[in-house]
Amino acid sequence: MSQDTPTDERNGGMNRRTMLAAAGGTAVATALAGCSTLLGGSQSDVEGEADVPDEPIQAGLQTFTEGAAAVLGLQAQHGAELAVRRINDAGGIAGREMELDTVHEADAHVENYTQFVDEGKDVTFGPISSGGHAAMAPEVESQGVVNVSTDGTVTTLYEGTVEDPTYSFRFQNYDVMECVTAAREAVSRVGADEIDTIAGINPNYAFGQDEWKFFELAMNQLVDGGVDSVYEGFPDLGATDMATHITEINNVQPDVTFSSQWGGDVTTMMNQASANGMFGNTQLVGSVLYSAVDELERNVVEEADAISGSRNWYWGFPDRSRWAPNDDTFGAARDEWDIVPTAHFMSGYGAVTAWATAVAKLVDVIGGWPSQDQIARGLEGHGFYTPAGYHVMSAGHQGKSNAFSGRMAWSEEVGAAVLEDVNAYAPQEVSPPEGTTAEEWVNGW
């Protein structure tokens, strides 16, 4: 029997099953990076070869599927669905296909997660909400089924709420990263010498307060002598009238106005700012203004000439002709859902990818299906590709990816806003090193 079995030496130190599993892992990783068309060939030859269960992988995703926040939530859902489809087209993970069950996160984040666990899900993804994530993460630690959150990006999650996580992970860059990106962008594009005053219009909840706090901290460190905060307004989520804030901005005319508004609130604010001539009085800089791309109108975009972050992905950077995974993903989103994919699309795509590529690697290493503990360990420090580029799930469980920002402009070709002159910031430029809190880090500059 031993004569029929290829030796490890003849296969470069790998037995047949390990090699096939590794090939499967590579296929999954390649498909998720969107590069399968570049490599060619079929990836389905590994199905059923690894020592793994036969039944499909059950995954659960909670996201906002209705209401105002669905602008972001549906993008995340579509991204996750695309990633799952690509995994299955590549033959699954060691032959196991994935099935994704999506529920509306509503205000029931913990209930949704425990329901998934009760249903025997192998992995869970989501949520979008920061508050919901803070409520859910300790429960993830108690239940012990790995959750890779799409968003829920509040800075304090792994600095206070769950300081030493085991099963809870977050793919998307967290608040401090996009605020520091926005501050660097403001300084480099407007000029440190040109900025004496700043103002903020941010949503009236923990996320908006977190974002304003870190933008203000970063600006004070980046501009010699600091900056004066001349106005800070916190309109409610879904507010229909932002005239008060816009009038104040017009009165005080700050050099830079920062906004972490997202989705429909961006549209409301920018339309009313345009109508009241605000863009002539200040430079608008936002962390996720581009999340409203499918709603913004041409005249507003052109008049605003705003600088917007795009979290850890912008579909047009680098140029799609140089980076086919972006082109494939952009095309898939346009064809199937008729949307311009945003960073929230990547939130869903990347969360699934982080888990899938880690598991594919673990199957290769251990020669069987990994336990939740093994998956959790495997995710720590795990590096992987998506159409957005290379990501690392840090030892502290926070995903670290490049952060993107550019000038919002109108594209006739796309029929929607695009980002021009995009800058990419490496994680170490916009996030603290392991073991340092975000606030200590910024204050220590």
């Binding site: 529920v103 425990t114 025997g120 300790p138």
Partner: protein
């Protein structure tokens, strides 16, 4: 007051069901202990609200304030003061819920009817705004109820595993609910309860026969607030994280009121049943459709037209639902007569609407 054997048997069955929930939840992934538990707690708050609704006929739109006060008391003590004792957290939640009810009641009960309802709504929203605007309360992210090194509240200093913790807290809730129902039953059947009934029927007459109306109504309001406070405190222990939207927002007050009506506000345990059913419906609804919010509306419409006495009220002897059920059993052909009657009612209503429209457009002649 003696309990008829049939009702005692039903009560025992209900109690057995309540006790069996953790085991039943293990049998089906569709039934979550956490969801039933949440339903029981909101139902308990609705039992408190029902004291006002059933006896004094006052409609409060702000009962989430007491529920939220209880929940946030537990959360603040656990997060900022590292209080680990479950019983201390619960006692403090009850105390602060009671105090809040005293203050809100004192300020709201100067008015009756619509203005009372609006005032309770206003105080509830005021509390919500304060909590969401203050970093001390965790703003919209809320606060964890995970004190101490064990990362959980302890019962008599004992630390439990995650699954055991949820079952222990559930049985603690069952105990609290039984005690609360017993107290409410005594209150409702006491001279104080009769006085509240008299106040509900006619305030002026009640005052004329010597009942200190304002004092009694304030007492009833505070008692109902205690139920909200204790339920909120338990909610904090169950969820281990308290956020403003699910506990203090005015729609939560609406839910609590709706639970009382759904279960049957003229009954003792109806609001509790209403709480379990509504929370369960909302949870299942999310899995079935994106329009799950419409479920509440549909149930409300069905309730008003088909079961105006609520779930428990409709099952009681002598209710229109029971009468119809009995006549259907005696003669199934009566269903045809009902359908004909319903159709005739629709035709009549359409004819009346047409006639009204003719009068509006062309005048009486």
């Amino acid at each position: 007051m003696e309990l008829p054997p049939r009702r005692a048997a039903l009560g025992l069955l209900g109690l057995l069901l309540l006790v069996a929930v953790p085991d039943l939840a293990k049998l089906s992934p569709g039934l979550q202990l956490r969801v039933v538990h949440e339903g029981v707690l909101f139902g308990l708050a609705a039992v408190g609200l029902n004291l006002l609704l059933r006896h004094t006929r006052l409609v409060s739109f702000g009962h989430a304030a007491f529920f939220g006060t209880g929940a946030y008391t537990a959360a603040v003590l656990a997060s900022h003061f590292d209080v680990t004792s479950m019983l201390v957290l619960l006692a403090a939640a009850t105390l602060f819920g009671t105090l809040m009810a005293g203050v809100v009641g004192y300020l709201s009960l100067r008015h009756t009817g619509l203005y009372f309802s609006l005032l309770t709504l206003a105080f509830g929203q005021l509390l919500y705004a304060v909590v969401i605007g203050r970093g001390y309360f965790g703003s919209s992210d809320g606060l964890a109820v995970r004190p101490g090194e064990a990362n959980q509240a302890l019962l008599f200093g004992v630390e439990f595993g995650s699954e055991v913790y949820s079952v222990v807290v559930y049985y603690l809730t069952v105990l609290v609910v039984l005690l609360s129902l017993l107290v409410m039953w005594r209150v409702a059947n006491s001279p104080f309860g009769d006085a509240l009934d008299a106040i509900g029927q006619n305030r002026t007459r009640a005052r004329f026969i010597g009942i200190p109306v304002r004092r009694y109504v304030l007492a009833a309001f505070v008692v109902s607030g205690i139920y909200g406070g204790v339920a909120g405190g338990m909610y904090g222990l169950v969820q281990q994280h308290v956020r403003p939207e699910p506990t203090l927002y005015f729609l939560r007050s609406g839910d609590i009121l709706f639970m009382a009506i759904l279960g049957g506000f003229r009954t003792l345990v109806g609001p509790l049943v209403g709480g379990i059913v509504l929370v369960f419906l909302q949870d299942v609804g999310r899995d079935v459709t994106n329009y799950f919010d419409a479920l509440t509306g549909i149930v409300l419409v069905a309730l008003v037209y088909g079961f105006p006495r609520g779930i428990v009220g409709s099952l009681k002897a002598g209710s229109p639902f029971r009468r119809r059920l009995a006549s259907l059993r005696a003669d199934p052909s009566v269903a045809g007569a009902w359908l004909r009657g319903a159709w005739n009612a629709v035709v009549d209503a359409a004819a009346r609407a047409g006639e009204n429209l003719r009068i509006i457009i062309f005048g009486v002649n």
